[in-house]
Symmetry: C2
Subunit: 135 residues, 2 copies
């Protein structure tokens, strides 16, 4: 099982997240791509680019699309993806979401989507004001 991973975000947010995740775990288990959406261009330009990227990274098991916010321009581009591929879209991407799915890259698209959702939500934490060395 080898789901593709596409990040569609404002500007360089997706690249920054992906680079951090890869740097943290030391490898990228996905065939992945990022699409940086700039305000200066029409959304239609990015719709075509997103479709082309999905075509490139889908090996037959579908593509998980992560985006920064539902209802934003990148989110709308993600939701509008239409083609012959299996696609799931999850908004609100953060680093815990990305690291969670990096650890479950072998799952199928539905299972991986659930991991993205739980990883993203579980990672939102009110942290104790205590150094790890003191715990």
């Amino acid at each position: 099982m080898s789901v593709g991973l596409l990040l569609i975000t404002h500007h360089e947010l997706g690249k920054a997240l992906l680079n951090t995740a890869v740097g943290t775990l030391g490898h990228n288990p996905f065939c992945s791509a990022t699409l940086s959406v700039a305000r200066e261009l029409e959304p239609e330009v990015f719709n075509a680019r997103a479709t082309r990227l999905v075509n490139e990274i889908d090996s037959g098991d579908g593509v998980l699309v992560l985006t920064d916010m539902y209802g934003s321009t990148p989110g709308n581009i993600a939701c509008c993806l239409r083609n012959d591929h299996r696609i799931a879209v999850v908004a609100g991407v953060n680093l815990p979401m990305l690291l969670r799915i990096f650890n479950y890259a072998q799952l199928d698209l539905d299972e991986l989507t659930e991991k993205a959702l739980s990883g993203g939500r579980d990672g939102v934490i009110h942290c104790p004001n205590r150094c790890p060395s003191e715990s």
Copy 2:
């Protein structure tokens, strides 16, 4: 009420998030700063920088510190902040979290922390595969 906002993240993640939020809403209601944590330097270097930034942005109502992941180096730097300021730390920062608190910048530190937590979690969404124009 004027809480300060500090983002402590890996590399350029915090700057990318803040720039996107400011670009989306057209303004930044906070006295804010970002700290980009690089792997190449010792964490102690960043502890001192974080303390200095808190000193700069706290106008007396405390500082909300957002970080990318609990348990990561930036998260640990955030949790280790010690000084005479009121500080709350929330991990798992994403764009919905940031936009939520931008809309409630007048709240006090405890209320703003709750908004950050709910905004971050509520923003993690399994999106419908449907163009907004079709809904």
